[in-house]
Symmetry: C2
Subunit: 251 residues, 2 copies
DNA sequence: CTAAGAATAACTCAGGCTGAGAATAACCCC
DNA sequence: GGGGTTATTCTCAGCCTGAGTTATTCTTAG
């Protein structure tokens, strides 16, 4: 133990192999009624040709969250007000020694949520970029530990829908209850009871507030015009909008 | 934008000022019916004399979680089976450029929970070490952004008690329902209805399982012998054991 | 123009869970 | 033995949920 302490006292990171810190962004959106994640195709080794999360080195003097927004903006071409509306939150950090073959790289992952975004600007520094439906993810070759990071991000997103008004970030400024329900169904991956969902959404204080207006037309396949709502001022949903229990996840 | 891309293409972190990655551990335990956090007193600048979370540089070839366990073990003197029983989980990462005056240091914080631990081994490399009651924290001078990290850890702990059997990590192998209730009351900071808590704990599948035994004696101030329980096999509590709503936190 | 189909929104109802209070019984200390 | 304390169990009203139904409005096919 004394050796241990002597070692520590003299421990200077500058005397050791350099390390680097990157941010990776799990950007989720809903397009074509599917949950999709933003991926870029790597042009250079390692993992050339593989798909990866947008991300890159944190610059000197740059905050972590700022780095995440920058990387996201570079791939999507988003800026200004539309970018400010995108929700960002820190997800987790990944630092297994061999996760990148080049050197020791720690990655701090961020989660981003946005409503239906345009096709990414393919001409960025990373070659191809695209939104990929999560259903198509299993057959895609992913670089590094990015599959794991996406899975962690997904679980976070599903969980956050329960306790926060995050779902309102996936829809436009004004939306119908059915729009919101579609978000929950898409992210959670199974259908919800329309009547109960409606009752619940209206009963949670601060989740939505009515605009007084309705849609211009009924749904594409019929039905009355739906009332329009805006996101409310709640930061936490109480009581929460819980996913039906999945027995297999409990034990 | 082209300049941006050219910059990125040539971006090599090795050409930039070195960065370092540390882990910091928010270790929580319950002693004397109070929630306490492990702090060490810094011997050297910066922040010499200030109190800080135990932590240090992640070594080459060392995993993040392993680094957190190592730093925790060094300060507490714990090892072997007792150390394995301590619950660790990643909390969040902190990387504001000026959070450490020496250089750019990213810190990945871990949360540790353990039942009533002994006084830390004061003779470690960091000078004094002690468990500090959270109630005494506001008057203590803390180094770096460690106050913020502790706050984040606390909120995580409070929240995790709701959805996971984490509370069983704060008590011994065998415990009474009252022991468990004391954990919840201590961490959440307010009293709970004994009867309802009892009913709830026994009704959540997999939270606890009876041992058939009871305590040797009644409580110090009277009352019957209490039944003893062990932690069950649940990984998630369903339905959850929710904190009473705090209106002020919702909006 | 009309009928069929679809969706919104509101209502009903049984069952489960919660908070609050109370009852019962076992046990400590004096 | 008596008073105070605590574990455990009950009771009961109120709220919330899942499931199903109904009235109404609207689109589309024919």
């Amino acid at each position: 133990m004394v050796n241990e302490q002597e070692f520590l006292a003299g421990y200077d990171p500058r005397a050791y192999p350099a390390v680097a810190v990157t941010v990776d962004v799990v950007a989720l959106t809903i397009r074509d009624n599917e949950l999709q994640v933003l991926l870029i195709q790597r042009a250079a080794p390692p993992f050339a040709g593989f798909w990866a999360l947008p991300g890159g080195f944190v610059r000197p003097e740059e905050d972590l969250a700022a780095a995440a927004r920058r990387e996201f903006a570079e791939e999507t071409g988003l800026g200004g007000e539309p970018l400010r509306r995108v929700h960002f939150e820190q997800l987790a950090s990944y630092g297994t020694p061999d996760r990148d073959p080049r050197m020791r790289i720690f990655s701090i992952a961020y989660l981003a949520f946005a409503p239906d975004l345009p096709e990414p600007t393919a001409g960025s520094d990373a070659g191809a970029a695209e939104w990929l439906a999560l259903t198509a993810l299993p057959t895609r070759e992913l670089a590094f530990d990015h599959r794991r990071i996406i899975e962690d991000g997904l679980e976070r997103a599903r969980s956050k829908l329960e306790y926060t008004p995050l779902a309102t970030r996936f829809v436009g400024d004004e939306f119908t209850i059915a729009d919101l329900r579609a978000v929950y169904e898409t992210v959670w991956g199974h259908p919800l009871h329309a009547g109960n969902f409606h009752r619940k959404v209206l009963s949670v204080p601060g989740l939505v507030e009515g605009t007084g207006a309705t849609t211009e037309h009924g749904g594409p396949r019929g039905g009355p015009r739906a009332r329009l709502y805006r996101a409310g001022d709640a930061r936490l949903l109480h009581p929460a909008l819980l996913r039906p229990a999945r027995e297999e996840n409990v034990r």
